[in-house]
Amino acid sequence: MIAYLGRRLIQSLLILLGVSLITFALLYLLPADPVRQIAGRSATPQTVENIRQQLGLDQPFIVQYWRYLTKLISGDLGRSYIQRSEVTELIVSRLPASLLLMVGAILCELLIGLSMGLIAAVKRGTAIDQTLMVASFVGVSAPQFVVGLLLLYVFAVRLSWFPIGGYGTWRHLVLPSLTMGILGAGWYARMMRSSMIDVLRQDYVRTARAKGLARGTIIFRHALPNAILPVIAMIGIDIGIFMGGIVVVESVFGWPGIGQLAWQAIQRVDIPIIMGVTLVSAFAIVLGNLLADIIAPFIDPRIKLR
């Protein structure tokens, strides 16, 4: 177990290093000059050169990357080119909002997805099953931008149940979580359905049924705990999808998370922020996968860590 953990940690670090190198190289190769963005349109060539020198952007790629890495090790993500603030400060101030949204989204997708999957599995082959599976398909394929605006229009503007975007109370959290959750719910409904169908075919379920136990008891006490665990273990892997989703959803709802930060930084070629957010997201994804792998054997003893 310890050896496994050690190996996985080293792997994770290598992945992060690779992500940093690739992102840095891509941004370096971008045919846009960040110095021109900083200097603005009225800058004289001298101002532009001064800024280039001060930021060390006149150095060769390897020097620039090495400089970035050495600072990174001491936890310094640099200073934003456009906002001129510490990237760490910008990310730290926005991370709680993104984490909250992520928790809300996970709750939504589990609640919706698992119950849909459960019902579909129990009512397998019926019209209910088919309707739910079509719904899950729509959920998976609907663009989040559209879902977000639709929910906003119906529940905030028309019905006034929730505020029109913003951040602060649990009421603000509902619609963006739902928007993010609908996508995942589709996947979970499908996974839950097949997992539940598998379990319902097992001998011990048949035995329980033969003993004459009530249908509800069989489903909820005997089948569900076994069917649900493999599905829950997928949450760690979901984080990657969330990281993509928050960029869109946070923009629609004015949610002050790192997705918005990333989007603005990309538009302004604010390289230190793009690097910072990419690394934080990569870290989250690596961590999520690691946790998913570590808890897997506890959930399903057939899986062994090697």
């Binding site: 045919p31 846009a32 900083i38 101002t47 001129r84 909002a97 905030a156 002050p256």
Partner: protein, 547 residues
Amino acid sequence: MKKFLASTVAASALALMLGMASARAEDTIDPNAKQGGEIIATYKDDVTTLDPAIGYDWQNWSMIKSLFDGLMDYEPGTTKLKPDLAESYEISPDGKTFTFKLRHGVKFHNGREMTADDVKYSLDRVTNPKTQSPGAGFFGSIKGYDDVAAGKADSLAGVTVVDPYTVKFELSRPDATFLHVMAINFSHVVPKEEVEKYGADFGKHPVGTGAFKLAEWTLGQRIVFVRNPDYWHKGLPHLDKITFEVGQEPIVALLRLQKGEIDLPLDGIPPAKFQEVMSDPEQKARVVEGGQLHTGYITMNTTMAPFDNVKVRQAVNMAINKARIIQIINGRAVPANQPLPPSMPAYDKAFTGYPYDVAKAKALLAEAGHPDGFDTQLFAMNTDPNPRIAQAIQQDLAAIGIKASIQALAQANVIAAGGDKAGAPMIWSGGMGWIADFPDPSNFYGPILGCAGAVPGGWNWSWYCNKDLDAKAAEADSIVDPAKSDERYKMWSDIYAKIMADAPWAPVFNEQRFTMKSARMGGADNLYVDPVHVPINYDNVYVKDVQ
């Protein structure tokens, strides 16, 4: 003391003579204005910085103007210069020395009085390369600028503190735009002790002399301005508090405005909703329309064949159907026939430019040796509506045989292509079009049409360099005497007419600004489409529902 008195008298005399500088700022207060109240304004993007030496986007521009003051400003809602932190000023006959007398008793938000030392410090700071100010180049006419810019000196030799309330500027050449330069944000006065206290984070902890002070800045969420009770301009500002909520999509902001939750959606009316808003009389009544100091244009690279032939460039000018392009943006612009926008001094109303004439355009193209047209590339920014406008231009060009393929790229990439001599044959400037830094005709020349801008990484994307016009521009800008401004404007009109004869650009339209506001907002319409405090003059607007 005697000299001091003399300069004041001379300045007042000059001011009276010229009908400027004598207008007391207090006169501009709206008698109907109510005191107090709070408003909420929204933006999509984060506010980047509130440091006047650094902030240079249309979002922080007006915010900085309400936190800080400069020696000069403009009459609210107009392009008319007036002294601000300066009480009066005097210009030497050779146009190379400007002496400003400061107001007494002006206090920074931290309570300390502002003096001439602060003015000098602020200019030394903005020109110091370490500050990385995008506006440093505006101060190029001040003596000693080159040494500071090159890092050889820490202080501008041409700026002298005569006494705590008098500051003198010596210029290396006469500069007719200098009073405007003293009004742009980059020259706004900052207190040394606060800058040193916060260092690179001063932009997040701004302290100025302005009408409002910063009360709260929650990153990614909101910025709150509260009234500065010690503001030197008695009776201003009217509002007690302004909350800028950031991260709000324009479409969401509009929905919130319609529900009465906010007062100013500052990213404007989303294009998809424009018709809907304008066809509803109740909503339309709350939309204010005004001119901007903006021109949208197509650049043609005059160093690249076939655009090195003036006939080809003229043909393009005649091929563009501007009325149709304006329809694409819901009629939110007026057609342009010259580089300057109509609200800019020196705009030539009599100038007719090139007519829309496809037959003549084809004839010109044939004369240039391209009877069957040619293939080329048109670069444009990839955000709506620019790709659609580029398509309209593409169709117009196809009608005279020019087959242009569209390169729709991110803003930074288009800028990079334009700054590369062999980069882009044609660029549609939308989303990057020139908006003047100050209302003076010279500001549309140097960087975008003069030789100085035709350098790698420059903004003269036509690579048009006419040495004669450069000389004429320098001559016009050496006419500093405000009494001769008409003569100077005439020279500038001629310069732009000559540019249009060479046709490095096809001017397309001048965007109009449409600001939407809640029903409770009060104040003259021009305060909501202020050409200088773009777009809102926060110091002068008020709410009607305060008790």
